[in-house]
Amino acid sequence: MKMTLTAIRVSVTLMLLCGLMYPLITTGLAQALFPKQANGSLIQSGDVVIGSELLAQSVTSPKLFHPRASAAKYDPTASAGSNRAVASDDYVKEIKEQIAELKKDNPTLKDIPSDLVTASGSGFDPDLSPEAAKAQILRISKTTGIAERQIEQLVDSLTQSRQLGIFGEPRVNVLALNMALLKQAKL
């Protein structure tokens, strides 16, 4: 009986310490030190929230950069990866169709940027590889009338290199890219 009582007291004490005090203290410090990040790195235009820097959103217009495919349909209330089996004939067939689609916009493309024909892990990959962004320039230039050179410069200027020069891969944030494009084109 005494053993049980101790076990209950230990459990409740640790629950309050680790499950309540610790996250609340962390929240207080985080909100004081890094309020923007702590609230989800939101991008606002006036009072309206446009999105989060860190989450891809659905883009269908041919005039804008498209993010990677999302098995979650870009809905953050139900994150998901595609969970496709990559070594299957079905999958290979589908990707080859995607490649054919891509080549319609871009007939001279030889090295296919693999991120552009595959679904992301989270469903909200905010980035494209610079190659995947550049593979879309021809389409955007045709539909908007902005010179290819100009769009390419935009991609280059927004490309982030590896963190500390070592970690991760070079990438460009799609939402930032589209906002810059809209600003430039006054679409």
Binding site: M3, M15, C18, A30, L54, Q57, N83, R84, V92
Partner: protein, 559 residues
């Protein structure tokens, strides 16, 4: 691939550099003699002991130690289950989440108390903020501390002279207050700095560039994320875990996640060497585990860079399905090898979409279950194999096997065999059962060999208390919720019970002096035999299942 290799190497060097200092620190944490740490943590700990009603000087024999562990884990399990079942009526539920159904709540509560972190739900639509705190973040601390405590108790048994394994409550309190809490707080703040949310506010409605609605879910993510990796827990706030940009926004957070999950499992092996006053023995075990880890890492690394042959010829380089651009292939491969070695189970890419050999690595590491392994328990599994290796070598040279001067006899080998055999049984039997039932086959999302891997992976992950998934499987059915729940319980507690029994039995034994005839267990030769025995036992047990799943799939890969 070149830069990828550099990144992986630097990460491994960082982990190696931390092994000694952190290992030495761990020894101090669990040293009951007065140390410098008492000055800092002592007053706080004494206050906590008073509230808990724990007499910290009270020593426990193996049965008492085990009793305290099981009883307190059971109480926590009940508390967590209640929170999940009642979350709708409790505070801190800004997104208005409903109560969790009973089978899923059982699965979830068991999953977190056993340090598995298997999730048949997605946090962003199934848990209130309070549940994320009390039924997820809280057990992430205590389950990791429990694993730690049991490992330390076992080592005390190895070197002790009587059945006194320490005090369970003191051990978990020390692990939490001297290691987990301070480290988690610092790491959490770094994660927020890099972009991980930490807020009490509910989801926010965004109006996208094209005028569509996007509901941005968030929460107290960073405080969960830090202990998730430090405690090798692995359960994410969001469904897609550390692939989600809110859990893992940058390559630097990815680095921190990997270092955190490897930090304590690797250091504990060194601490083991220090505690038994035989550093060479610690390094011998470390070398064996490290060797298997590197082979596995190289396999998944090469497999993912190679990708699917049929697509490579169409101009696509490597396999990016289910991976994130900011991590690329190398960081995804490293994360995969680390998370299934350290039995963390978090993922930064979708494991189901790995190439067949990439998926093989994840499965195989969980099947071996001792390549560093989760907090404490991984070391225990490693020592289990060590005892077996000593026994087998002892038979070969015709001497009574002994380890650290203690004779390994029938009782210890029987207990070790039980702990060892239970692992394949609870993987292969339920997998076979699931494949008999058309209802459970209906949960499989990919057909053929890959479908077999989905089910095999689910039970392997549960048995190894890993928690990662081939996430295409719909595991939210009563069969999988209850089945995997039971597998997690057996996988966690049977081996712990057996190991503590061995500790109790060894502790009571007389130390035999070392002679020239003693089998030396810290030599390169013995380490080689140790690796062989791990691989041979693992291969003999699981090869048929692996051959039907990932290996067959690899051989049938489209060209």
């Amino acid at each position: 691939m070149g830069m990828g290799f550099v990144q992986v190497t630097i990460t491994l060097v960082i982990i190696l550099a931390l092994v000694k200092p952190v290992g030495s620190y761990l020894v101090k944490v669990f040293d009951y003699e007065r140390t410098g740490l008492d000055r800092i943590f002592g007053p706080f700990e004494r206050a906590v002991y008073r509230i808990m009603g724990v007499r910290d000087k009270e020593a426990m024999g193996w049965k008492q130690y085990l009793g305290a562990m099981l009883l307190s884990n059971f109480v926590m399990l009940i508390l967590m289950y209640l929170v999940l079942r009642l979350q709708k009526y409790l505070p801190l539920n800004p997104d208005g989440i409903d109560n969790m159904p009973s089978a899923q709540a059982f699965n979830t509560a068991v999953s977190f108390i056993t340090n598995t972190n298997w999730q048949s739900y997605s946090g962003e639509n199934a848990l209130s903020y309070l549940s994320q705190m009390l039924a997820v973040t809280f057990p992430m601390f205590t389950s990791a501390a429990t694993g730690f405590a049991v490992a330390v108790a076992f080592i005390r048994g190895l070197i002790g002279h009587q059945d006194n394994l320490g005090n369970f409550y003191v051990d978990i309190t020390r692990a939490i207050i001297r290691v987990f809490l301070p480290l988690s707080l610092i790491v959490a703040l770094f994660l927020v700095f890099q972009g991980v949310p930490q807020t009490m506010q509910g989801a926010v409605e965004a109006s996208t560039l094209e005028g569509a609605k996007q509901t941005i879910t968030r929460g107290l993510v960073a405080s969960l994320e830090s202990i998730k990796h430090i405690g090798t827990n692995g359960g994410g706030w969001f469904g897609t875990n550390a692939a989600h940009p809110f859990e893992n926004p940058t390559p630097l957070t990815n680095l921190v996640h990997i270092v955190c999950m490897m930090l304590l499992p690797t250091s504990l092996v060194y601490a083991f060497g220090l505690m038994i006053k035989n550093k060479k023995q610690g390094w011998a075990v470390f070398a064996a585990m490290g060797f298997i880890f590197l082979v596995m890492l190289a396999t998944v690394f090469v497999a993912e860079y190679h990708g699917v042959t049929a697509l490579t010829s169409a101009g696509v380089n490597g396999n990016m399905e289910g991976k994130e651009v900011r991590f690329g292939i190398s960081e995804s491969a490293l994360f995969t090898a680390a998370t299934t070695a350290a039995t963390t189970g978090s993922v930064n890419n979708m494991l189901e979409s790995l190439t067949p050999m990439g998926g093989f690595v994840a499965l195989a590491e969980m099947m071996l279950n001792n390549v560093f392994g989760g907090k404490g328990v991984g070391l225990l599994n490693g020592l289990l194999y060590l005892i077996l290796s000593i026994f087998i070598c002892g038979l070969m040279v015709g001497r009574t096997p002994e380890f650290l001067g203690k004779k390994i006899e029938g009782k210890e080998v029987k207990l070790a065999s039980i702990a060892l055999l239970i692992h394949p049984v609870i993987i292969l039997a339920p997998t076979a059962l699931a494949l008999f039932r058309p209802e459970s086959i209906a949960s499989i999302s990919n057909s053929g060999m890959h479908g077999l891997s989905e089910v095999l992976y689910a039970f392997t992950s549960g048995a190894a208390n890993n928690g990662s998934a081939f996430a295409g499987l719909n595991a939210d059915t009563n069969f999988y919720n209850v089945g995997i729940g039971l597998v997690m319980l057996v996988g966690r507690y049977i081996s712990i019970i057996a190991m503590l029994a061995i500790a109790g039995s060894l502790a009571a034994k007389r130390v035999v002096p070392v002679t020239t005839g003693t089998l030396r267990t810290n030599t390169p030769l013995f380490t080689g035999i140790f690796i062989m025995i791990i691989v041979v036992i693992g291969a003999l047990t699981f090869f048929p299942a692996l051959a039907l799943g990932p290996i067959a799939e690899h051989l049938a890969m489209p060209h």
